[in-house]
């Protein structure tokens, strides 16, 4: 099997491949000079499709796909994502591209800035706005964090195409059970310490949400301070930060097959966005967040300052999961043994915005 790693950076996309997930071949930059905030592998078809959110600071965003692992790229003449004329808004950035479950093999979701959800029914070539979320009465009160106001997480239910959970910053977690017609906030138990009412119905600054591999009603959320778990599909959340050295950070990911195993990358605090103890390390839990332990064998052992952004930590779908992360210093690391040991994939790339991995 060939293992593939897509590395989206501030100035281009890099595609890496490996036979053993320890030694990597890294391409030169695709879309040089363009920011790649989102990338996905769609492995549901006969050949893996790479979908890339390509963002030009001058010429706007687009979604481009490749069915030959980056040898050629396809982009439709008409904009893949565009607000209908009656709305009068414009897509500023594509923050997330998520293939739906195997029961909807041609459906792909995208999350954008401004906060909107989009659904493609042609494998990710073109997308339609999910109006139910766009027209939500809470919209005027959704705010923008430093990165803008965006739907950055889309989690389609693996077995029920009517159920989708999204996360936006700021705004929080919302979910639909009717295929996107209606949406309800799902933030009970998640603190928004930066608001006058720290326990609002919505308005939380969620940084990333991951779904548990074994229980589709169990999710994990890394918030702007606060790490949480829900076991009832988002009806209520409880803190799982007690055993972490900090509850601040951006990414959180779940093991692809084993329930209860998750990783994150804690930072000191909102006001001090550096790795805790200046150590380059991830934290792993095998009991759904009750206890955590650091994993850093093979990672830089000196003071390390760069952070890992919300989509710059991922797993692959291997039996023994590979774990990957990239930093704003352009360093990319891979683990073939679920985080127990690490090797470098690349160094000195532009700031890493996202990573995604798959086998082919």
């Amino acid at each position: 099997m060939t293992h593939m790693l897509a590395i989206g950076t501030q100035k281009g996309l890099f595609l890496a491949s490996s036979d053993d997930r320890r030694s990597w071949r890294v391409s030169s930059a695709h879309f040089p000079g363009h920011a790649i905030y989102s990338v996905a592998f769609d492995t549901r078809g006969p050949a893996p499709r790479v979908l890339v959110g390509v963002d030009s600071s001058h010429f706007g965003p687009s979604v481009v796909i490749s069915d030959d692992l980056g040898a050629t790229w396809q982009e439709p003449d008409e904009a893949p994502l565009a607000f209908p004329g009656d709305i009068g808004a414009a897509v500023e950035r594509v923050w997330q591209i998520t293939p739906a479950g195997p029961i909807e093999p041609s459906v792909v979701y995208a999350g954008t800035q401004p906060s909107a959800l989009w659904r493609s029914r042609d494998g990710g070539r073109t997308y339609e706005l999910v109006r139910g979320l766009w027209e939500h009465p809470h919209r005027p009160e959704w705010g923008a964090g430093f990165g803008g106001q965006a739907v950055h997480t889309v989690l389609p239910h693996p077995a029920d195409p009517d159920r989708v959970l999204v996360a936006m910053s700021t705004g929080g977690v919302y979910r639909t059970t009717d295929g996107g017609e209606s949406w309800a906030p799902a933030n009970r138990g998640i603190k928004a310490y930066f608001l006058p009412d720290p326990w609002p119905e919505f308005g939380q600054c969620v940084h990333k949400v991951a779904r548990d591999a074994a229980d589709p009603d169990c999710y994990y959320a890394q918030n702007h301070h606060g790490v949480y778990r829900t076991t009832d599909g988002g009806d209520s959340w409880e803190s799982i930060a007690a055993d972490l050295p900090s509850d601040f950070g951006f990414p959180i990911v779940a093991h692809p097959a084993r329930g209860g195993t998750i990783w994150n990358f804690p930072l000191v605090s909102d006001g001090d966005r550096r790795p805790v103890d200046l150590l380059c390390r991830v934290f792993r839990s095998d009991d759904a967040g009750t206890t955590w332990r650091p994993q850093q064998k093979g990672l830089p052992d000196g003071p390390y300052y760069p952070v890992v952004l919300r989509d710059a930590l991922c797993t692959d779908d291997g039996d023994q999961a590979g774990v990957y992360f990239g930093t704003r210093a352009g360093d990319v690391f891979a683990s073939a043994d679920e985080g127990e040991s690490w090797s470098a994939v690349a160094a000195h790339l532009p700031d890493v915005l996202c990573v995604r991995a798959a086998g082919a």
Partner: protein, 91 residues
């Protein structure tokens, strides 16, 4: 017939052409509407789907910055030269 001058970075969206002749005249908006019909990928690099000029794209009509001369309503006489240039921006 107005002529559109295409910067190198956008020529792939214009079939490689450095200059395009358009039939429409009257206003910059009308010219860009025609560009959207004939070269849609080029037009959406210049304007977003709400119809607004992208923030870091500048368009000059006979040497005048359209943002100072009426925006998309800037008059475009037959024979005008319209230059599209990326602005100085980015990091």
């Amino acid at each position: 017939m107005p002529t559109l001058l295409i910067p190198g970075v956008l020529r792939a969206e214009a079939g490689g052409a450095p200059r395009l002749e358009v039939a429409a005249s009257g206003s910059l908006g009308a010219v860009l509407d025609e560009v959207g019909e004939r070269w849609p990928r080029l037009e959406r690099r210049i304007r977003d789907e709400s119809g607004a000029l992208r923030r870091y794209v500048n368009v000059y009509v006979d040497g005048e910055d359209c943002r100072r001369s009426g925006g998309l309503e800037t008059p475009v006489p037959a024979g005008a030269e319209i230059q599209v240039l990326p602005s100085v921006a980015g990091g």
